[in-house]
Structures are given as C-alpha cells and as structure tokens.
C-alpha cells in the first residue's frame, strides 16, 4: 500500500498519527492474513482423518500452499500498485484539464 499519497498535504503531527494508524492496520492485517492462510491450506490439503498427525504429502502440500499464496499475493501487490498509479495519473490529468478550461 502506498501511504505517501494519503499523507501529502498533512502537517507533521498528523502524519505521525496517520503512520501509527497505518502500523496498527498492518499488524491487524498480518494476523488476519495468517489465519485465513491457515484456513485455506487446511481446507485444500487435509482430507482424511485416519491419523492424528499430518503425513508427508499433507505437509508438503501445506508448504506449497503457503509459498504459492505468498507469491500470488506479492504479484497481485505489484499489479495493484501499477493500476493504482495509472488511475492516479489519469485523475490528475482530468483535473488539470478541468482546471485549465476557464
């Protein structure tokens, strides 16, 4: 996420306040992500309950599941950033065009 654009134009103390809010959001989001990833990999990888321990297939599956999800999330993050800045640029162009049309 890019907090820089949200912070532009705010004075110093408000920036500090916002940074703190952002940190809290990030902690909350990490915990949420952790839980949802566990749920997802459990759901996708664990099918049988004949034993109480994971077998090696299930273990490898969970490890792959985690790796794949994190790579996926990173890639979406990159595209999200690109799409965001594109949209930001377009908005600025529209606003500049409107502002200049007097």
């Amino acid at each position: 996420m890019d907090p820089a654009s949200a912070m532009q134009g705010l004075p110093q103390d408000q920036q500090a306040q916002l940074m703190q809010a952002i940190e809290q959001m990030q902690v909350r989001d990490s915990l949420r992500m952790y839980n949802s990833l566990v749920e997802r990999c459990f759901r996708d990888c664990v099918e049988s309950f004949r034993r109480k321990d994971l077998d090696s297939t299930e273990e490898k599956c969970v490890q792959s599941c985690c790796t794949k999800f994190m790579k996926h999330s990173a890639r979406v993050g990159i595209r999200f950033g690109e799409l965001s800045s594109e949209a930001e640029t377009q908005m600025q162009q529209v606003m500049a065009a409107q502002g200049g049309g007097k």
Binding site: M1, P3, S5, A6, M7, Q8, G9, L10, P11, Q14, Q17, L18, A21, I22, M25, D29, R32, M33, D44, C45, K60, C61, Q63, S64, C65, C66, T67, K68, F69, K71, H72, S73, R75, V76, G77, R79, F80, L83, S84, A87, M95
Partner: protein
C-alpha cells in the same frame, strides 16, 4: 483524493484513514478473488506457472475495471459518500 486548503485537520485524518482502509480491503479482495480464479489447488510445488502468472495479471486488471464500473453505477444512483 484532492487536497483542499483550510480543511479541518480531524476530518483530513479521518478521510486518509478511510481511504487507506478502503484500499487495503480492495487489495485483499483482489488477492482472494484472483486466487480462486487462477491458482491450481493441487499444489504440486510452491511455484507459480506461466499460465498462473498471466492469469493473475489479467485478473488484477479486470478486477480493477469492475471496481471502476461499480463505482460509476453506484455514483449514478446518487448514493456514494
């Protein structure tokens, strides 16, 4: 979001927080949806295939466009704050 001079600082902070929360929620929803649409759940290894990578790129782009359209439609209904 445009910056307006002389805006009440408490309002500005609130708006910035809301904007951030919205962006985070949008990002998480995009990750979840595109994972469901694009990723092979057999988990043979931890790598993303070429097909999955392309799918992710296109899915992100389409998801973003859907966000835009829905925003327009809701705006036209005269409802979004």
């Amino acid at each position: 979001m445009s910056q307006q001079g002389g805006q009440d600082p408490a309002v500005a902070i609130d708006m910035a927080k809301q904007e951030m929360e919205y962006r985070v929620a949008l990002f998480n929803a995009m990750v979840t949806s595109c994972y469901e649409k694009c990723i092979d759940k057999r988990y043979k290894d931890g790598e993303l295939s070429v097909g999955e990578n392309s799918c992710i790129d296109r899915c992100s782009s389409k998801y973003w466009q859907v966000t835009g359209i829905v925003g327009q439609m809701l705006g036209a209904q005269g409802g979004m704050q």
